[in-house]
């Protein structure tokens, strides 16, 4: 256990650094393919944080579904559409200034709320990772209805995407 006490902050700040660096990279880069690559960094960093938060299965799902599926789709889309004359979409200076101000104000407000509340009162952190069995039992018992609705949704999405992307006759 004493290994964890000095290792956990290091690992946390490492992954948090990766997440923030990539997210800032997404905002700043003008090249949309690089934005997609930075998103890979963010997703990977968040998956690492899930491991740290004792959510191993969720971390694996994040990597398989998000980084391995959704992001590949996005990269596909980016690459197929990047040959248009408007690949570099530079926002005007005033737009950037306004957006940055709003973002900073929002972050300041959120940070004030987060730091203003004494969260530790209710804290009794789980120190064992949630097992696949636990998650599966919960998913197929208490959350069975959302689970089934989600599967129907996926079917609808599959048909819808195939319909939208079909060749026009």
């Amino acid at each position: 256990m004493n290994v964890n006490t000095w290792l956990e902050p290091i690992v946390f700040f490492l992954f948090a650094g990766v997440v923030l660096f990539s997210a800032i990279g997404i905002v700043l880069t003008r090249n949309i393919v690089r934005a997609a690559l930075f998103l890979l960094g963010t997703l990977g960093g968040v998956a690492g944080l899930y491991f740290l938060l004792m959510a191993n299965l969720l971390a694996a799902i994040q990597l398989i579904v998000y980084a391995g599926g959704t992001l590949v789709l996005i990269v596909f889309g980016v690459m197929l559409t990047s040959k248009s004359p408007w690949v570099r979409f530079a926002p005007s200076r005033s737009e950037a200034a306004a957006a940055t101000t709003i973002g900073l104000v929002l972050f300041a407000a959120l940070a004030k709320i987060v730091t203003g509340i004494d969260w530790t009162v209710a804290a009794h952190p789980a120190d064992q990772p949630a097992t696949v069995r636990q998650v599966g039992n919960l998913l197929l018992q208490q959350y069975l209805v959302p689970f089934e609705v989600a599967s129907v949704l996926l079917l609808v999405v599959m048909i819808g995407a195939a319909y939208l992307a079909r060749p026009e006759n």
Binding site: E8, L53, I61, I74, T81, F89, V114, V135, L138
Partner: protein, 103 residues
Amino acid sequence: MTSIGLQHYLLLAAALFCLGILTMTLKRNAIGILIGVELILNAANLNLVAFTRYRTGAIDGQIVAVFIILLAAAEAAIAIAIFMNFYNSLATIDVDRADQLQG
């Protein structure tokens, strides 16, 4: 060294959320906006999992996070299909050019 608590994760998620909002406002590329949405969803997921670990001790938050990941995948599939059609008809995915319905 300080020990890592709930606040660290919440602050990180807040920063991620704001960066997602910034991405959505600053990108005119439709896929750029989609990337911003993904950042926001990740921030929400991070909050859920952090609360799950530090507050409740149960794992319900992880289940909700699984559903969010699933919805994000579904959303991206449909969005990219729409963007492809958009690109095929307008030869760009600059959202500001999708103004044909304006009178």
